[in-house]
């Protein structure tokens, strides 16, 4: 009818739902949605930007492999103790299966990767915790590998740098996990007394026993923006003191305000800043006036 021509076209009352086949046309992983600002971006570009969101600067989780690639000079990393694996000292049901599953998923053998490498040409010993493996929790292997990395730094007389990312002690290894806090701290003290330089970079999350041992024992304690850092869990504190906590409680920025950190450094500036710190601590540290 003629009058139909002048009426506004009715808005569709249904949303377009892509068909199953259309969905599969976009292979998984091409796009990434930022969990913070919900914006969608190309994964490749995000990775190129060290997994820092272009829009809100949210620092996406980095696994150990990505971290090493982003931080060390290319091809400089030499891993040590890569095939050390956990036992089941408490005979905890399903523990071994869970470990195997995570090994399969992450292609690493435990929640920390250790070794040596160079940054701006300067040799360091490094330990990178990986929160994609059992939430980065610390059991006997994590404690032992970190301790051996510290001993390696001591042996080579090079700085020790650790990236922490951990929910804390691993429950399935009970008190042995707790003792790893002491083991790593005792090793750090020996290294420190021998003049070794320790830099700790806390990434999201660094809590519990890891926060209460090596993570807090750097000559320089640094953190990535927005990282959750603390000893006790937020919920436990809220239940204990029966009041709500501020939103920024236990964030890197909160800790900086409380005087617990030297600096909060965006991931994109991290390598340069660490290089600068290292260059102030040149090996030997013996300053000599240049003869003119």
């Amino acid at each position: 009818m003629l009058k139909d021509i002048f009426t506004k076209t009715k808005k569709k009352k249904y949303a377009t739902i892509p068909s199953e086949t259309a969905k599969q046309d976009v292979p998984e992983g091409i796009m990434t949605k930022c969990p913070n600002c919900k914006k969608i971006m190309y994964t490749k570009e995000l990775v190129k930007n060290l997994k820092v969101c272009f829009h809100c600067h949210y620092h996406h989780t980095m696994n150990s492999k990505e971290r090493l690639a982003s931080f060390l000079d290319a091809n400089s990393f030499e891993e040590i103790n890569a095939n050390m694996i956990s036992e089941n000292p408490l005979n905890f049901p399903d523990y071994i299966e869970k470990l195997e599953k995570d090994r399969e998923k992450t292609k690493i053998n435990e929640a920390v990767v250790t070794g040596t490498g160079t940054i701006g040409g300067q040799k360091i010993a490094v330990a990178v915790m990986d929160s994609t493996f059992r939430m980065g929790s610390m059991g006997s292997v994590v404690g032992e590998k970190i301790t051996r990395a510290i001993e390696k730094a001591d042996e080579l007389r090079v700085p020790f740098i650790i990236f922490t990312a951990s929910g804390g002690a691993r429950m399935q290894e009970g008190v042995l996990s707790l003792m790893q806090m002491a083991k790593t701290s005792v090793a750090l003290k020996r290294f420190s007394d021998n003049g070794g330089l320790i830099i700790s970079i806390m990434t999201h999350p660094t809590t519990g026993g890891v926060s209460a041992s090596f993570a807090s024992l750097g000559d320089y304690n640094l953190a990535e923006p927005g990282a959750l850092i603390g000893f006790a869990g937020r919920r436990i504190i809220e239940q204990t003191i029966r009041e709500e906590l501020p939103e920024d409680f236990q964030t890197a920025e909160f800790l900086l305000k409380c005087g617990q950190l030297d600096a909060v450094i965006p991931r994109t500036e991290l390598k340069d800043k660490i290089s600068a710190i290292l260059s102030i601590h040149q090996p030997g540290g013996d300053f000599q006036w240049q003869e003119n």
Binding site: N83, V113, M171, V175, M179, A212, F231
Partner: protein, 325 residues
Amino acid sequence: MAGELEFERPVMELKKKIAELKEFTKTADVDLSSEIEKLEARLEKLEADIYENMKPWDRVQIARHPARPTTLDYISYLFEDFFECHGDRAFGDDEAIVGGIAKFKGIPVTVIGHQRGKDTKENIRRNFGMPHPEGYRKALRLMKQADKFRRPIICFIDTKGAYPGKAAEERGQSEAIAKNLFEMASLRVPVICIVIGEGGSGGALALGVGNHIHMLENSTYSVISPEGAAAILWKDAAQAKKAAESMRITAPDLKELGVVDQIIEEVKGGAHKDVKVQAAEIEEVLTHSLKDLMDLTEDQLIDHRYNKFKSIGEYSFLKEFIGVK
């Protein structure tokens, strides 16, 4: 009897019955001595049965007994001339940790320990034995002082854990604990730690980096409380009893895991039944421990501590190499 625990009720009931019979024979003109003898024999067997086969959860109950002797109780029996030192020199004095100087059998020592209360009023003052950072910093200050004057250090461990509070986080609970672990490593004097009640997580470990670690028979030492473990593992804090069993938190467990050096025998039914006798047991172990360690040089003491903690943990190696490339 006040403070009796569930698992020891049969013993208590039998004891009561015997007491009643004894009372009865005094007043009535009947001879029940053979009956009483029989019952006493049964009591002995029952006590042996119950107290020698204690389940982990029974030990947890004893470790948490409100009347269980505290650090200050043992200090009064074990040391002379105890002088308590207060404050961390930076923020305040945390009464959840006590410390000071004293003499043990004539030897000058520094004594530090977690301190909980025995009643509500004292528990509020002591924050239920759950320290804030200033407590750990006070402890560290006293340890450094002991190091300066070459006094052995004796630590009593008895806490549910470091206090999980807002102020504690703001003042650096993590850093305070970490610093203690770090600094205790290089103390040039013997450090002996004795777990007398609950050894709860990092809050306990912060006084626990010793050359020797001993545990009272019915004390516990764990990475998380049984309730906490149950809440995480099975989403049900009520399963604490089961968690206590699977987490291996008792003194015999820790001895087997290679964490603890010696188990200090307890008075039958728990230390609270006779503090004096219990203190004597501790004194004996402490004497031996101290004698052994005082033979070591300063460097040997530091190495000894390093090797002790280095050896804790279980791991193996995969044959094939799978590394990050």
